[in-house]
C-alpha cells in the first residue's frame, strides 16, 4: 500500500497517527463517558499541528492537502476516537459549502478563525421531518431588503453547541422543492439562534450533537452562499466530498478493533492454547484483515479520482457504504473475539462497536448510498 503514497502523504499520515496515539486515544474512554467534547483540551494542540480543520486551504490560513491525505488523516484520527474525528470533521463539513460556493471574502471571514484560533463550524441540514429526504426540509428563509429572515428547526447537528459558524440550509421558495433551497452562514450570537436538546447517544459520545433552533434569525444577504436555489446542489456536492472521509474514519475504527482482536487472540489462552490457534478465530481475523484492506483501497480510489478531477460520486457513495458496513462487522466480530471481556467497558472494543454504528447512518444512510450507486450504474 505504501508504494502508492507519496512521501508527504505518508508524513501527514504519520503526524495524524502520532497525534491520535498521544493526544486522543489515551483519553478517549474518559471523553466517551463524560459525553462532552473536550474543546479546551484539544483545540490549541490541534490548531498548532494543523489538524483542527484540514479542509482549509493555504490561502485562508490552512494547508493545501489532497483528498488522499485527507482520508489518511481521517483514518488515523478515528483510529484514535471516532467521536473526536466526527467533531473535528464537523469543522470541515461546515467548511466545504464555503469552499465550493463562498466568495473569497466569505471564505476568509469564516475559515481563517478556525485554523488560527480554534473556531468551530456546523453543517445544519437535517430536520425532524427531513432526514434522508433533504428536499422536504421546512426551514424557510424570506428576503427582507438586505437581509434574510430564517425560521425553522434543525436536529442532530454535530457541533451544535460549539460552532461559531453554522451553515444552514433553508427553503427560499418552497414551491420549487429541491430547486428552492438556499444556503446561509449564521454566526454564533445572532439574535434568534439557539440550541435545543443535546442528544444522548449510543456512540461517538465525545461529539456534541444538538438541535439548532432558528427563530426569526436575521442574516445579511452577504451571508448567502451561492445563488438562491443552489442549496440542494451545494449540500449534495458537500456530501460527495465528505463521504470518503467518513469511509476513512470507518477504516480507522475497524483497524483499531482488528489490531486489538489480533493482539488479544495471541495472548488469550483457552484449552491450553492461544485462541489465535483455533481456526474459527483465524477465519474471523483473516476476514477482518481482508475487509479493512479492501475498504481502504476503495476509499483511496474515490479520493484519487477526486484529486485527478474525475467524477467520483459513484466511488464516493460506494466507499462510504462499504467501509462503514465493514467497520460495523469488524467491530462486532472484535467484541466476539474478546468474548465477555469484549462486552465489558474495561476493553475499548465495545466503544468502537457503538461508534461504528453511526457511520452507517450519518452523511446519508447506507440505504441512500445504495440508491445513489444504483442511480449511477443504471443511467
Amino acid at each position: 500500500m505504501n508504494l502508492l503514497l507519496t512521501e508527504e502523504q505518508l508524513a501527514l499520515r504519520d503526524l495524524a497517527h502520532d497525534f491520535a496515539a498521544h493526544e486522543i486515544r489515551p483519553y478517549a474512554p474518559d471523553w466517551d463517558e463524560k459525553e462532552s467534547f473536550p474543546r479546551s483540551e484539544l483545540a490549541q494542540k490541534a490548531v498548532e499541528v494543523g489538524l483542527w480543520n484540514i479542509a482549509v486551504p493555504e490561502a485562508h490560513g490552512g494547508t493545501d492537502i489532497d483528498a488522499v491525505s485527507t482520508c489518511l488523516i481521517n483514518e488515523e484520527l478515528a483510529w484514535g476516537c471516532a467521536g473526536i474525528a466526527t467533531s473535528i470533521g464537523g469543522n470541515s463539513l461546515g467548511s466545504y459549502p464555503l469552499l465550493i460556493a463562498g466568495t473569497d471574502e466569505q471564505k476568509e471571514r469564516f475559515l481563517r478563525p478556525q485554523v488560527e484560533a480554534g473556531a468551530m463550524a456546523a453543517f445544519a441540514l437535517t430536520e425532524p421531518n427531513a432526514g434522508s429526504d433533504v428536499a422536504s426540509l421546512a426551514t424557510t428563509a424570506h428576503r427582507e431588503g438586505d437581509e434574510y429572515v430564517l425560521q425553522g428547526r434543525k436536529c442532530f447537528i454535530t457541533n451544535g453547541d460549539l460552532a461559531d459558524v453554522y451553515v444552514v440550509f433553508a427553503a427560499t421558495d418552497r414551491s420549487q422543492g429541491a430547486k428552492g433551497l438556499s444556503t446561509f452562514v449564521v454566526e454564533r450570537g445572532t439574535a434568534g439562534l439557539s440550541t435545543g436538546k443535546k442528544e444522548k447517544k449510543m456512540g461517538i459520545r465525545a461529539s456534541n450533537t444538538t438541535e439548532v433552533i432558528l427563530e426569526e434569525v436575521r442574516v445579511p444577504a452577504a451571508n448567502r452562499l451561492g445563488a438562491e436555489g443552489d442549496g440542494f446542489k451545494l449540500a449534495m456536492k458537500t456530501l460527495d466530498i465528505s463521504r470518503p472521509s467518513v469511509a476513512a474514519m470507518a477504516v480507522g475504527v475497524a483497524r483499531a478493533a482488528y489490531e486489538t482482536a489480533l493482539h488479544y487472540a495471541k495472548e488469550r489462552v483457552q484449552f491450553g492454547k492461544p485462541i489465535a490457534s483455533f481456526q474459527a478465530i483465524q477465519t474471523i481475523l483473516a476476514d477482518m484483515a481482508m475487509a479493512i484492506e479492501t475498504a481502504r483501497l476503495l476509499t483511496l480510489k474515490a479520493a484519487m479520482l477526486k484529486d485527478q478531477g474525475l467524477p467520483y460520486t459513484l466511488e464516493s457513495a460506494m466507499c462510504k457504504a462499504y467501509a462503514t458496513d465493514v467497520a460495523m462487522k469488524v467491530t462486532t466480530d472484535a467484541v466476539q473475539v474478546l468474548g465477555g471481556y469484549g462486552y465489558s467497558r474495561e476493553y475499548p472494543v465495545e466503544k468502537w462497536m457503538r461508534d461504528a454504528k453511526i457511520l452507517q447512518i450519518y452523511e446519508g444512510t447506507n440505504q441512500i448510498q445504495r440508491l445513489v450507486i444504483a442511480n449511477q450504474i443504471l443511467r
Binding site: A11, L12, L15, E48, V49, G50, G62, D64
Partner: protein, 252 residues
Amino acid sequence: MNIVVLIKQTFDTEAKIAIKEGKIVADGVTQIINPYDEFALEEALRIKEKSGGDVLVVSAGGEKVKEALRSALAMGADRALLVETEGAAVDEGIVASALAKAISGLSYNLVLSGWKAIDDNSAQVGGRVAETLGLPQVNVVTQLTIEDGKALAVREVEGGTETVEVPLPALITAQRGLNEPRYPNMRGIMQAKKKELKVVTLSELGVSGAPQVAVKNVVLPPAKQAGKLFRDDVATSVAQLVQALRNEAKVI
C-alpha cells in the same frame, strides 16, 4: 545564530527487533529520528524562534536517511545535508570525521546533537565531532541558555546537576528533559519538500580509511524468565523466598 544539528536515523523505540546472521533485520522496521537528537533539534528550533537564524540538520547514512532529514525539515529546520555512506563500512570514528568535515567549512555558532543514539548507545559521535573541530563541548545537557556569545548549560552529574559556561561556537549534546519536542505541523510537512537537501559523499569529503571497530556479532538480550510463585502458607512461603533470594538470585 546559525545552528547545526546532528541527527541519526534509528529504529523506532517501539519496533520489534529481529536478528538474522548477526545483523538486525531492517526490513519493515519503522525508522525515526533518534529521540535524543530530536531534543537537540527542538532546542535549535526554539533558539531560532527566539533570536532568529538558520538551522541546518546533518546526518550520515544511506538513501533512507533522507526521510529523517525531511522530518527534521518538516519540524522547522531550514536546510539539510546528508553525508552519503550507502554501502561503505563505517564506525563512529569515520562518521564523526565525516560530519566534522562536512560542517567545518560552514559558519556556525552552535552545534547540537543527542548525547547518544538509542540503537548502539555508543555516545561517541558528538564528542568526537567537537574534538575534531576544536570546539568546547558540554554533554548530557538538560537546560540550555544562549546569550552574549556564550552557552550556559546545565548538565546531569551524579547526585545533582552542574552548570557549565562555554564560549560559542560550542557543541552541546542533549539529554532527555531538555525540552518536549513538537509535532511537525501540516504546513511544515508540505513545505519540507521545497527546502534544500544536499548530498555529499565520503569521497567528496575526502574521508577514507577502514573502520577501527568491527562488530563481531549482535544478540538479543536473553528472554525474561518466568517469575516464581510461592503458594504455601505465609510462614513457609517467606522462608522459601528468603532461601531463593539468597541461594538462587544471590541478592541477599
